[in-house]
Amino acid sequence: MDKFIKDYDKIIKKQHTLETNDPLDRLISVVKEAKEKIQSDPSSVNASLVNLTKSVKTTSSGISEEFKELQSLLSKYSKAVDKTFTGDMMSTLSPHAFDNKEHILRNTIATHFIRQGNFEIGDKFAQARVSSEANITVPDEIRHQFMEMFEIVAALKENNLEPALMWAMRHRSGLEKRTSTLEFKLHRQRFLQLLEAREVRLAIAYAQKNFGHFGNRHTQEIMRLMCSIIYMDHIHTSPYADLVTPNANSDLQHMFTRDFCSLIGLSCESPLYVSCTVGTQAIPTILKVSALMKAKKTEWSQQSELPVEISLTDDVKFHSIFTCPVSKEQASETNPPMMMLCGHVICQESLHKLCRGSTKLKCPYCPTESPASNAKVVHF
């Protein structure tokens, strides 16, 4: 990449010299010079003209040389780009998988914009084709919910916790069911804001008024908060420095967004964003495998499954996958994972094969032997 940028800088520099030292200016000055000579000495017409022809020739060959150089730099650069950026993503495409699903895709995109808080673009996109095809619609409910969410987040950004607190109190029972600590975290932040503003008296009053409800769940935390009062003057070097990290606000925004979405039954990230980010990471692997298979002239036998494992980051693993360590098959409803007495898990079919008619089962991973009937189906 560095090389590209360097090469490209050369091109730009070259272009710049061409700009500041305009070839046309050079030509003009050559002609002007000849003209002035003739003016001052009319008898030299012939000699000056011959001179002029000569200098025009040298100037013009110089100019075309410069152009040529620039062009060759450009084509060299362009070839280098061809060599480096070689991905042909089209080979990974299932050409008809999205047939007749345009409207689903468009609805997803429109919802994505709403979810990003880009209401203007979402609306413009949704309205663009009202006449011709199926309308793009984002349910009004979702729209309103996200508008509320972004208003609250905007307030949070400005360190105004009030709207978020109001919302959290309104949805206290729902949040508690999700074991969310959002409401407490908001109160805690407000308390710290007051402390940082040296409003100790107000802070204590605030704590008395609001922390009571959280006495059971957050005892430790409340004790730390109250104790931090005595360290406020040099909190950054005290054991309580973690209370005032600069990320506190953005963490709170993130937490709020997550809990808000989870409460209205939506994912905390836009699904389109998640899928495309995973897709970007998956394409190189799929490309590599499909190229390998092409080279070996093998077809990928199981069309219903990707030929290769795509390693996902933990945050996008959404389902429990159990692959039997014995058979390497994925567990399914007909072949569920079974836990033996020792706690090791293998799939049912492998378990039956290991027993081979006997009722005793020797765990393939530890010395334990146990009756096969003691193995139980586990639910992940």
């Binding site: 046309l24 003209k35 650069y77 070689t86 998640v274 990707l306 959404f318 189906v377």
Partner: protein, 404 residues
């Protein structure tokens, strides 16, 4: 695991950079290259003009019928011409530097990406967002949502990273074809002659055929024959069969039921022309034939898709494929992900269970992560409730599960 493989991801940016480099009609480097060529051509033309004029004056003055005054006038005329050309080239030059600048911005964008080291970092998330916006804009431009695309590019400040201008011209051609007019598209073919030849395009022939068909439809036989003589015969070496077939139209009225002619008269041929134009245009610009969004989304959905996604009891709100009305519906025809290794996700916390967060089985054989159960127990007097069955157990009853 969470390290970024830069080379692999970068190789995907082929169209992003390449479009800058190679496209003969528009956009950064190659646009820059052609702008440069144009100004070079202008200047060379002017130089040869200049040389000719001077030679002529020399000839005349050698014959003795030019005085110094006349030479001065002639030279003045040359200077004026050169200055006019200079003004004219100023626009091209502005364009040149615009495209040169744009390529630079894109290279810098990719360089920024190279400095990101982890898939978990905020920088990567930001980069991914920009990439998503880029491919969304690409999709919107292809499908005629130019207004939204422009707005998005502007509000995200990524105008330099997308190719909106490119679609302004092609949009005009497409609209003309929708109005049943070939003129604009033929003009476009002419402008891109060498490029089209390189990709062995037959678009121009298809357009000529269509114009002939329209004449035949209106039963303007005489004009149709003249048209065929002029515009179809140049293609006889390669398209004789098609030419003779289309000439057959003269014998059949537009409402014919006869097989090949009915199809030739069909208005849907215009839609085919549009898609032919599109694919040719994309090929010339080094755009991918299908939108990047489709490719990326397909790969992503397949990588995420599991058999559980379509079972309501296993639904995870955070999983894109689990939404049966949106991306789940889009993914039905895609392959499932493939797994050699187990990864067990806690139904309570959504976190992965591993050595740091062990999987624990309740007495009812439902498995949850240790951290989630421990937190629940600490808030409930050491009691844990299975969220799926409602059974309540003491934390001491949970048992380690070994997933190898």
């Amino acid at each position: 695991m969470n390290k970024i493989n830069h080379d692999q991801l970068l190789s995907l940016e082929h169209p992003f950079v390449k479009v800058n480099v190679k496209s003969p009609s528009s956009i950064p480097v190659e646009k820059y290259r052609s702008a440069l060529k144009l100004s070079q051509k202008h200047i060379e033309k002017e130089i040869s003009n200049l040389t000719n004029t001077i030679t002529e004056i020399i000839k005349k003055s050698a014959q003795g019928n030019v005085d110094a005054k006349q030479v001065e006038v002639a030279l003045d005329a040359i200077i004026t011409r050169l200055s006019t050309l200079k003004r004219k080239l100023r626009d091209i030059r502005a364009e040149e530097s615009l495209y040169a600048q744009r390529t630079k911005v894109r290279l810098q964008h990719l360089e920024e990406f190279l400095s990101i080291n982890s898939l978990d970092s905020d920088d990567f998330a930001r980069w991914s967002r920009v990439r998503l916006n880029r491919i969304l804009i690409d999709y919107m431009l292809r499908d005629g949502f130019r207004g939204s695309a422009t707005l998005l590019a502007k509000s995200e400040n990524i105008e330099q990273l997308v190719d909106i201008e490119l679609f302004v011209q092609s949009g005009k051609v497409e609209q003309a074809l929708m109005r049943y007019s070939c003129t604009e598209c033929l003009q476009w073919c002419n402008d891109n002659k060498s490029g089209l030849k390189k990709i062995k395009s037959t678009l121009e022939f298809s357009l000529r055929e269509q114009e002939f068909i329209e004449l035949a439809r209106e039963r303007r036989t005489r004009e149709a024959i003249a048209y065929a003589k002029k515009h179809l015969t140049p293609w006889q070496d390669t398209h004789m069969k098609e030419i003779s077939q289309v000439m057959g139209l003269l014998a059949f009225p537009p409402d014919t039921k006869c097989h090949p002619y009915k199809r030739l008269y069909d208005k849907s041929r215009w839609t085919d022309l549009i898609s032919q134009f599109r694919s040719n245009n994309f090929a010339l610009q080094y755009f991918t034939p299908e939108p990047l969004l489709a490719v990326t989304l397909q790969a992503g959905l397949a990588a995420l898709k599991t058999p559980m996604c379509y079972k309501p009891e296993h639904r995870n709100v955070n999983c894109p494929v689990c939404d049966p009305n949106m991306l789940g519906a889009l993914a039905t025809e895609l392959p499932l992900s493939h797994h050699f290794n187990s990864s067990i996700v806690c139904k309570i916390s959504g976190h992965i269970m591993n050595e740091d967060n062990l999987p624990m089985a309740l007495p009812n054989n439902y498995v949850y992560s240790y951290n989630a159960l421990a937190e629940m127990a600490s808030l409930n007097n050491d009691k844990v409730t299975c969220p799926r069955t409602g059974s309540v157990y003491d934390i001491s009853e949970i048992k380690k599960v070994f997933i190898s």
